[in-house]
Amino acid sequence: MQLTQRSKSVDRSPMTFLESLYLWNIMKGMAITLRHLFKKKATIQYPEEKRPFSPIFRGLHVLNRDAEGRENCTACGLCAVACPAEAITMEAAERLPGEENLYREEKYAAKYEINMLRCIFCGLCEEACPKDAIYLSQTFAPANYGRKGFIYGKNELLIPHPINEREAYLKALGDRTPSARIQNQPNA
């Protein structure tokens, strides 16, 4: 049945005599494999060598702090609503006087848990956040032995304090120049 003017038959010519002898095309195939025997190998030896991930790679989450090290999250819950896997759980709390150096706004997340085993790393929470608080990072989630090992609480999610934990913060920051993408990443 011809429906359009664009169709073109595929080349299904019968076997030539040479082809019907098996050997010629087998030799051709073997020549290809032999060529590959001496080619440079494509393998990245993972635990030792690491492949640079894209700067927008969607890996483990981080909770952001502002420049003074205060937590950005106000526990508005948009990320939890946006999460298709329903993996985010949080409890909101009011900021008490004297905690202004800890939390940026009057409300904060007393508990913020992501179940990494449920999470599908779709990045919708990152998009949903109106407070510059939750981001995904270039670290992929590591394997673990038990299910509890995947409940990431605030301890694991918050980025290092930019002033008090300067060294860790710089390390987490990574080299963000484009040329650094070519080099290997620090240990995840």
Partner: protein
């Protein structure tokens, strides 16, 4: 048979030789598994095993160690005795074949001659064939005893395939026998040392023999009894632990032995090509060792070709395999045989 010549020294020599050959077979088989994985890796632009020891050279030991300590499962529905007999037969048959192959030039010393060959019987090559023809039982019995339909299908495929391809194999061989005039392996090698390698005179015969050897060893494109994507490892599907190891090992030993047979029959055996080594005046031991090395080099090359083919081409379908065997290989082998006979007669007259 004359048993009077059997002395203690003779026995000792043969026992050492047999032990050496079995050890060699195991060693080569082990490292062929590694070579297969490495070569496959390289051909596929990847590294292959490289974590177990430097360059992964301990990989076969790791596999063996693991298999040895794995649980043995004998399915309740299977036939226990036959289930055990299958891998044992496969292994024994694979090992026995190597008895008649001359592994190197005989060591000629002043006190006597030590042949690097377990037995040099008149029917040398026929012994190989008789053992090979029995080799199919390992697959058949194992596959049947597993009481699994995939295994049974594989067993039937394997049996008919191996029986079918024995015929062109022997026909291809007969052409060689026309030329050498002897069934003795040692004489075939000597003939080639004097007259040049058989592959030069019998290229078609070598090709046929090689294809049949692929089929007899169940290697791609004839790996229908295993056919992991159809029959899911076929006849050894139900086997675990060392019984599986026996089957896997037997396949590699078969490859090794058939490479050695091909090297002996067609590639001049332990003959060192292009040179007249007799003129070097080497000590007999060194010379024998050298000739053994040459044979091993030829065997390694053939093993590489086995592996190379496996990782290049797809496998046949069952009926196509039979078609190829009966309708193409046998007539070709017959033609080759008759042609060789005619040429030989013409040359002699």
């Amino acid at each position: 048979m004359d048993f009077a010549a059997i002395t203690l020294w003779f026995l000792l020599e043969k026992v050492i030789l047999i032990a050496a050959i079995i050890g060699l077979s195991f060693f080569v088989a082990m490292y062929t598994t590694l070579a297969e994985r490495k070569v496959a890796g390289w051909m596929q632009d990847r590294m292959g095993p490289n974590r177990a020891g430097p360059f992964g050279i301990l990989q076969p030991l790791a596999d063996g160690g693991k298999l040895f300590f794995k649980e043995e499962i004998i399915p309740v529905t299977s036939n226990r005795i036959l289930f055990l007999l299958g891998p044992a037969l496969a292994m024994i048959v694979a090992l026995v074949t190597s008895t008649v192959i001359p592994w190197g030039a005989p060591v000629v010393t002043t006190t006597g001659t030590i042949a690097l060959q377990v037995t040099d019987v008149d029917m040398g090559i026929l012994i190989v064939f008789s053992v090979v023809s029995v080799g199919v039982y390992g697959i058949m019995i194992g596959g049947w005893a597993s009481n699994n339909k995939f295994s049974l299908l594989a067993a039937i495929r394997g049996a008919s395939q191996m029986v079918s391809y024995e015929l062109p194999m022997s026909l291809a061989l007969i052409a060689i026998l026309f030329m050498t005039g002897s069934l003795k392996m040692s004489e075939i090698v000597l003939y080639q040392i004097n007259h040049g390698w058989n592959i030069v005179y019998q290229p078609l015969g070598f090709l046929l023999f090689f294809i049949c050897a692929l089929a007899e060893c169940n290697r791609t494109p004839f790996d229908l009894p295993e056919a992991e994507n159809e029959l899911n490892f076929g006849y050894h599907q139900e086997y675990s632990s060392m019984k599986l190891g026996f089957y896997l090992f037997a396949e590699y030993i078969n490859m090794f032995v058939s490479s050695a047979v091909m090297a002996t029959l067609f590639l001049g055996g332990y003959d060192i090509p292009f040179v007249n080594e007799a003129a070097w005046g080497l000590s007999p031991w060194v010379y024998s060792l050298l000739s053994f090395g040459v044979l091993m080099a030829k065997v390694s090359f053939l093993l590489f070709v086995f592996i190379w083919i496996r990782w290049t081409i797809p496998r046949f379908r069952y009926d196509q395999l039979m078609n190829l065997g009966w309708k193409k290989m046998i007539p070709l082998a017959l033609f080759n045989m008759l042609l060789s006979a005619a040429i030989l007669l013409w040359l002699k007259s």
